[in-house]
Point group: D2
Chain length 266, copies 4
Amino acid sequence: MRILFVGDVMGEPGQEMLEQYLPLVKHKYRPQVTIVNGENATHGRGINERVYKKILKSGADIITMGNHTWDNREIHDFIDDAKKLIRPANFSAHKVPGKGYAIININQIKLAVLNLQGRVFMNPSDDPFAVAEKIITELQEKTDVIFVDFHAETTSEKEAFAWYFAGKVSAVLGTHTHVQTNDARILPGGTAFLSDVGFTGPYNGILGMKRENVIERFLNQMPTRFEVDETGPQTFSACLVDVNDSNGQAKRIETLQINPDHPWMD
Amino acid sequence: MRILFVGDVMGEPGQEMLEQYLPLVKHKYRPQVTIVNGENATHGRGINERVYKKILKSGADIITMGNHTWDNREIHDFIDDAKKLIRPANFSAHKVPGKGYAIININQIKLAVLNLQGRVFMNPSDDPFAVAEKIITELQEKTDVIFVDFHAETTSEKEAFAWYFAGKVSAVLGTHTHVQTNDARILPGGTAFLSDVGFTGPYNGILGMKRENVIERFLNQMPTRFEVDETGPQTFSACLVDVNDSNGQAKRIETLQINPDHPWMD
Amino acid sequence: MRILFVGDVMGEPGQEMLEQYLPLVKHKYRPQVTIVNGENATHGRGINERVYKKILKSGADIITMGNHTWDNREIHDFIDDAKKLIRPANFSAHKVPGKGYAIININQIKLAVLNLQGRVFMNPSDDPFAVAEKIITELQEKTDVIFVDFHAETTSEKEAFAWYFAGKVSAVLGTHTHVQTNDARILPGGTAFLSDVGFTGPYNGILGMKRENVIERFLNQMPTRFEVDETGPQTFSACLVDVNDSNGQAKRIETLQINPDHPWMD
Amino acid sequence: MRILFVGDVMGEPGQEMLEQYLPLVKHKYRPQVTIVNGENATHGRGINERVYKKILKSGADIITMGNHTWDNREIHDFIDDAKKLIRPANFSAHKVPGKGYAIININQIKLAVLNLQGRVFMNPSDDPFAVAEKIITELQEKTDVIFVDFHAETTSEKEAFAWYFAGKVSAVLGTHTHVQTNDARILPGGTAFLSDVGFTGPYNGILGMKRENVIERFLNQMPTRFEVDETGPQTFSACLVDVNDSNGQAKRIETLQINPDHPWMD
Ligand SMILES: [Fe+2]
Ligand SMILES: [Fe+2]
Ligand SMILES: [Fe+2]
Ligand SMILES: [Fe+2]
Ligand SMILES: [Fe+2]
Ligand SMILES: [Fe+2]
Ligand SMILES: [Fe+2]
Ligand SMILES: [Fe+2]
């Protein structure tokens, strides 16, 4: 099967990019399933039910999250019933709502999607290696096709994670830095890897936030309210992975960007 | 002029990649000047005089550094006389050897190369924005062509830095994460930008270090000695920037990788 | 002269402790000057003009700040005119309002009060050692009595700072951890030192915040709004330093606490 | 029973202080059991078998550790057989040697000693709250007297931990900062608490390390080798806790220091 993964959708601009380009990208590349990271979907911080439904309507099958999972309090209103939303599986086990993985059927094939968060330079969480090992072992009894969104800051943790699970999962695609990396490859054993898919939203902001605010904070270290940059051009960052359904091994990985420097071509 | 910038050269494998490919790359792309980040050149940690000279001999004109500058103590033996070596300019002013920028003449044109280090998730240093502003203002009286190696961890600090100095320097190219990003672009005012150039060294290690050691530390959080992975294939990561000599504005930026997934083609 | 220094005043409960006990403490110990850290004075985050004036009325001569300086936006309304308020002197020089030190006259003797912030495990700031060295050198031309509130997280940075400036200033008293340390001493050269003075506010909260909220965040790592604990008993944390006016050397340092475990005795 | 807890013993000077004062302290205060944190006992970094035995011979019954547990590689030679050594229980479960708690008999009463490490501003580890909850629940079936050495950096994590387990354990005493705090108290339910016991070793170093080296690093941010300060006076930092054997509730907590500012008095 072909999996399309879209990186962190950022606010209204990101939602609009999804609405506009997801149909075109699907029409051109024909993925069987579309996964979207939605941790920044509502005003750049978390996600509420309206936007959750909007992204599904735009064509997502599963929405993954990250360190911004709880930023929008409205998530508590719907996360228990949101079958298509997963958040990092290694969040604390102490009464934390939501779930860390989902299994969906794609033409008789089961696809497991697992979301995890790194620990280096991030808030404390349970050990992503240990938690993943446990869940992946369980999932392997149900399917060979396992897709991981590893939401992490450093390249070292992302590479270590991918190499450790190489041959055990179909893909480890990173998110969180909002910048697409140029290291897409198939690791031994058939695991597609990309350090970071990049994000989907304002192209001339800083990680999607208004430049002035972010720069001002770097200059004077005083608090400024970061807001999604609602003006200017947008970017769409994604990755396509082709998986051999019979054994779960990835055969091909390709990155995708749509923005003024990478204009869309049908 | 055309500038070639090669990302963090890692140990013997990285030195060998330079030796082998720098001549070929130069022959094919014809850069007028070659800048190499050498912070990991000697056994992955710092640089000594032998390797400094070897990299120059391989074809580098200027060597930049980063957070690993002082890791190899032999640097103190030659840094004061090393005209072609610069280290982050925003290191403390307190009796720190070395210099943060260099000016070289390329066919009658002065090229200033400036090295800086970020502060987010890195050891404390002087403010890179303030230090850069001061130095760039001085350099602008001497030349329009200013190249910056901004050695930093986070994409936010790199983007903020680049946008803040957009139109004031010819290029802001990032280093440190050892993973090439896919965001090369020309910012308004003619500033070439790339979050990270990537590194040059072992392709199947983790950031160039032996996988087993790094993975082990992630699994059990116990200290392991990281060593450069001396086996297996290598990668060469670089970036080419074309600058308009008359005004210092970048016209073109292109990334380059040589490794099993991106084989060299003459 | 005798200097009384009161640690981080926390919200309404802290203000009330000041109002109630500052007169009693002054009456008993007869300090010539009272310095109060007010970075948490308004609802635990920053300070506004009303509370600034209230603390002065309660008996403070100078108010120092820390990493929470800008948390309450109302500070911008009065900081430019607030002669008795100082904030860390090593905040960025880039258009940051306020000042980092103040000089006041105490019975014909000039007392300089300097506020600085550490860098380890704190937001980036200018180098506190370099900034302090510059300012202290200037201040020494005006007075021998220099008092430093060094607002920092780690004991190592606090001790290093104090030992480096030992013999150059009358006192280095730490703040920020909200827990009084038991290491008050006079360093060689006559510099009084205490890693942390502790805080003034709710005694049964966590650093003065409601326990339930803070514990909940440690248990599940989910965001909770921290609020000043407005119930239960209070604590008053302070330090007294006796300085020889003729040479600025500290002769004596003593900590002070008032709370259910250290009841006030006249 | 009366428990004596001695904070981080630092190198030769720390060992000597133990040898000299432990007998005197025991003679004066008559504790039934002595617990010593030994994470810095061998040259400031970890512990080897010779020093382990020496500290036991000086009078320790149990030795606890912290983030420096693995610094001295010789620990691997004896940790599996070291019945009186425990290391933080929340270290990764992945093939990590050693154990996190021990139970000893003191005059027919079982005393459980548990070692844990914090996560804020420290290397990643398993959740100390969750791990402690599980172990303490198990231990409570065997004894009411549970002593915890919580090795952590921040006062917030220490206070949150102590309040969360208040009434469930006899004592939560902190270590790691090497500076004794002045907040000893009995929390509701009979849990003795002290944020940090302080350390045992060189009194005029910085956290026990030679001042020059540590200060130099703060001044220029360049690597220096930290070494235990072997000259000058020493300090001995400890805490005494009286526990009601019948219900495990602490009745009294008192700190102890021996150094030039707190001379020993028989
Ligand atoms: Fe994101
Ligand atoms: Fe994120
Ligand atoms: Fe590097
Ligand atoms: Fe680096
Ligand atoms: Fe505070
Ligand atoms: Fe603070
Ligand atoms: Fe220690
Ligand atoms: Fe420690």
